[in-house]
């Protein structure tokens, strides 16, 4: 858990101006949460508190929305979050094997982060690349037609950074 207090968490100028643009628009909460997650890779509790003050909405409302939607995260993911597609086509073509193998290689489970903070594993819904099934997405880049043996090679792309 982070120990940052409300005063300490800093929103970038772009984020603040985004929030002020959206502040008076109806139904703005999800759009603002997306922008916050874009900045922090997840939604820190302190950020939620700050939004609560800025928009004058309760924390329970904000958490109600965050926890309803799969896309919003409450824990910080690894530097490289590995999203394994578990859509139907990927499932049939061995998406589950990819998760098992990643767990083996990295020594962590789904929704966990490696000790060095470098990788995390996430099982996601269809990413819409069914023609390339099974796929994983890392940092927005899609790797398709994978099997267990190809995974080390995929991970190697992110080793030296």
């Amino acid at each position: 858990m982070s120990v940052t207090s409300v005063e300490e968490i800093k929103f970038s100028d772009e984020l603040i101006s985004f929030i002020s643009d959206w502040k008076d628009q109806p139904g703005n909460l999800i759009m603002i949460l997306h922008r916050v997650q874009e900045e922090f890779d997840y939604i820190p509790r302190e950020a939620a508190k700050k939004i609560s003050k800025m928009l004058n909405v309760s924390m329970s409302k904000i958490y109600g929305v965050i926890t309803f939607y799969h896309y919003f995260k409450l824990e910080k993911p690894g530097k490289h979050n590995i999203q394994v597609c578990m859509g139907t086509a990927c499932y049939l073509k061995g998406g589950e094997d990819l998760i098992d193998e990643l767990e083996n290689i990295l020594g962590i489970g789904v929704n966990q982060v490696t000790e060095d903070g470098k990788f995390s594993i996430e099982a996601v819904r269809c990413v819409g690349c069914c023609g390339l099934a099974p796929v994983v997405v890392i940092g927005g880049k899609v790797f398709g037609k994978l099997n267990k043996k190809k995974l080390p090679e995929v991970l190697a792309n992110f080793e030296d950074e």
């Binding site: 759009m31 799969h70 819904r125």
Partner: protein, 621 residues
């Protein structure tokens, strides 16, 4: 660029049409590269750089134009490109990696010889520019008419292909009622899954007297295994903007929302570019094409909730709330966004509309079947040779799609079933492959059209496991508001889990049917009402497979781990020790050069021994 009036748009179109078709006249060669999400994932960017580099090396950069386009539909052979050389027929190439790209430059462009190994057939005729001879092609592209042809980031290319012509016609030549009437003649039904007549939705909304009305595009494509909407938005975003604007004009709405999954960043980006361009040309915003009509569109992001594809839940989500469905009536046509009358249609429905206005409802209704007019886009995936996006006239048979277009089942395996409609749909077996597809026929077979996922299953797929997969998905996505869905779904899943672990009893099958039937009747929204479908339909056609799991403790597809064993075939084992060394739980014993043995008590059935054995000496029973 400044805002256009009607005549200026017409002039621009003529101008761009010439430009678009005059590349050959200039003796320039054109290379069109597919850069949808699939293409990029398969390396289209690297292919593009290889082209640029090789053109430079061969010193023909200045006579060759490279342009980008959306999905050509040939997902199994991405990256795909099209090469147009003056004096030669255009050729579509697939699997174009950097090496093939360089070869195409040298052989096709310089030596004028086609690189036959990588050639793929064009999927369909071009309905915009060609006289129609649909018999030559199995596919018929209305929704995907521009995908794979235009650069989605260039509004001029859309305009050159009759883009915004329907809007022009609607605003200057038609009344709102005329438009709705044209939609009625066309017979277009909502392509999101339910198949409700589009004109009726519009008409209900039009009849409500309110000052504010809204237009919504449902682009929350959540069905796992379906990506028609993503490809349409990535390949032809302007068609959606144009159609929504036409709807806005017909019911006098001033604002539209596109509700799109945040998981589709490229589609969102292209929509934003398209909106900016059409505002600059006065095709969106105040006084469209110099008329009194004002309409603008805003993007709202979904956040990964399948239930938000249900229209009342979608409305909650647009309003920034938890996406929980509400009872209908009132329907969104009467009380939608912010409590005002709202038209909600899905991406594919929207993409058909400009063509209907341009070519007339009569033309559209001549395609398809009595029950369902027009075409349908399917995402053909799973155990099929040519997976990809296909658009076919309604009434095409499943056999034509899976075998003629899809190329059949790979690796010599046997076809088992095809799943349509995703988590809300069901399976269709071999005996029914010749059924002409429309809403009615699929429903009669116990499945649904759904949004367009079409997943082919072969003998290696276990029907109980597939049902469990879908149920696992729907219980995860159930919003929890109504008990039939929340509790019923969980109970169904638990029973399936029991059966796949070899602990099922025969009475479980009746329980599945009973709970399923209750959920269909009593759930609040479509998600709960349809979530038992995958189970009920597999029970209908494959009950003996369920019984095998229960009575014989066998999974014939060898998918359910609790019901299979790994054994060494003594005659084939050479005693190489590889399996014993790789076994993660050290349960394989045997000395070097002697037959090995798997101790079943400790085996976790990970399959590692099977994977590593070089002598096919591991048997799965």
């Amino acid at each position: 660029m400044s805002k256009l009036n009607r005549n200026e748009l017409k002039a621009l179109r003529e101008d761009k049409k010439k430009e678009f078709s005059s590349i050959a006249a200039n003796n320039d060669t054109k290379i069109i590269i597919g850069v949808g999400t699939c293409g990029v994932a398969a390396g289209a960017r690297e292919t593009e750089s290889a082209f640029l580099d090789e053109l430079k090396i061969q010193n023909i950069s200045n006579t060759t134009v490279i342009s980008e386009t959306g999905c050509m539909g040939l997902c199994h052979v991405e990256p795909t490109i099209e090469v147009i050389v003056p004096g030669m027929s255009p050729v579509i190439y697939g699997n174009v990696n950097e090496k093939v790209a360089r070869e195409i430059v040298k052989t096709h462009i310089l030596d004028k010889t086609v690189v036959t190994a990588n050639v793929f057939d064009r999927p369909a005729a071009d309905i915009v520019n060609e006289a129609e001879s649909s018999s030559d092609y199995k596919q018929y592209r209305i929704v995907l008419r521009n995908c794979g042809i235009i650069d989605p980031e260039k509004i001029n290319e859309y305009i050159a292909r009759d883009g915004y012509m329907a809007l022009e016609k609607a605003v200057f030549e038609m009344t709102g009622d005329d438009i709705i009437n044209e939609m009625k003649i066309s017979g277009l039904r909502g392509r999101g899954g339910a198949g409700f007549p589009t004109w009726m939705k519009w008409n209900f909304t039009k009849q409500v007297e309110e000052e504010f009305k809204y237009i919504v595009c449902n682009a929350d494509e959540g069905d796992p295994g379906a990506y028609m909407d993503r490809s349409t938005l990535e390949g032809d975003p302007h068609s959606i903007l144009e159609a929504m604007t036409i709807a806005g004009y017909s019911i006098n709405a001033k604002k539209g929302y596109i509700y799109i999954r945040a998981e589709y960043p490229l589609a969102i980006e292209r929509l934003k570019i398209a909106m900016k361009q059409s505002r600059e040309l006065g095709l969106l915003g105040d006084n469209i094409l110099g008329s009194d009509f004002c309409f603008d569109i805003e993007i709202r992001l979904g956040a990964g909730a399948f239930v938000c594809g249900e229209e009342t839940a979608l409305l909650e989500s647009i309003e920034g709330e938890r996406g929980m469905p509400n009872p209908r009536p009132p329907f969104p046509a009467v009380k939608g966004v912010w409590g005002e009358p709202t038209i909600i249609n899905n991406v594919e429905t929207w993409a058909s509309i400009p063509v209907i206005i341009n070519k007339g409802g009569e033309w559209f209704s001549s395609i398809g079947t009595e029950d369902t007019r027009g075409t349908k886009v399917f995402a053909l995936t799973g155990k099929v040779q040519n997976s990809g996006l296909v658009e076919v006239p309604m009434g095409t048979t499943l056999r034509e799609i899976i075998y003629d277009i899809g190329g059949g089942i790979p690796n010599g395996r046997e076809f088992k079933a095809v799943q349509t409609g995703g988590p809300s749909g069901g399976v269709i077996t071999k005996e029914y492959l010749d059924t002409p597809i429309d809403y009615k026929s699929l429903q009669e077979l116990g499945s649904i059209m759904g949004s367009g996922g079409m997943i082919v299953l072969d003998e290696d797929d276990c029907m109980v496991d597939v049902s469990k997969f879908y149920l696992g998905f729907t219980i995860d996505e159930s919003c929890g508001k109504c008990p039939p869905c929340r509790v019923g779904g969980r109970s169904l899943y638990n029973i399936l889990d029991k059966i796949t672990s070899g602990k099922g009893v025969i009475e479980d099958l009746d329980k599945l049917k009973e709970i399923g039937a209750t959920m269909q009747k009593a759930s609040l929204c479509g998600l709960g009402q349809t979530s038992p479908n995958p189970i009920l339909s597999t029970l209908k056609y494959f009950e003996e497979e369920y019984i095998e799991h229960i009575s014989d403790k066998k999974c014939r597809a060898k998918k359910c781990k609790a019901l299979i064993t790994f054994e060494v075939i003594p005659d084939a084992c050479t005693g190489c020790t590889l399996c014993a060394r790789k076994c993660p739980v050290n349960t394989i014993s045997g000395a070097r050069k002697e037959v090995h043995f798997i101790n079943q008590d400790a085996c976790i059935k990970c399959g590692e021994c099977f994977d590593v054995c070089n002598f096919d000496a591991i048997l799965i029973k």
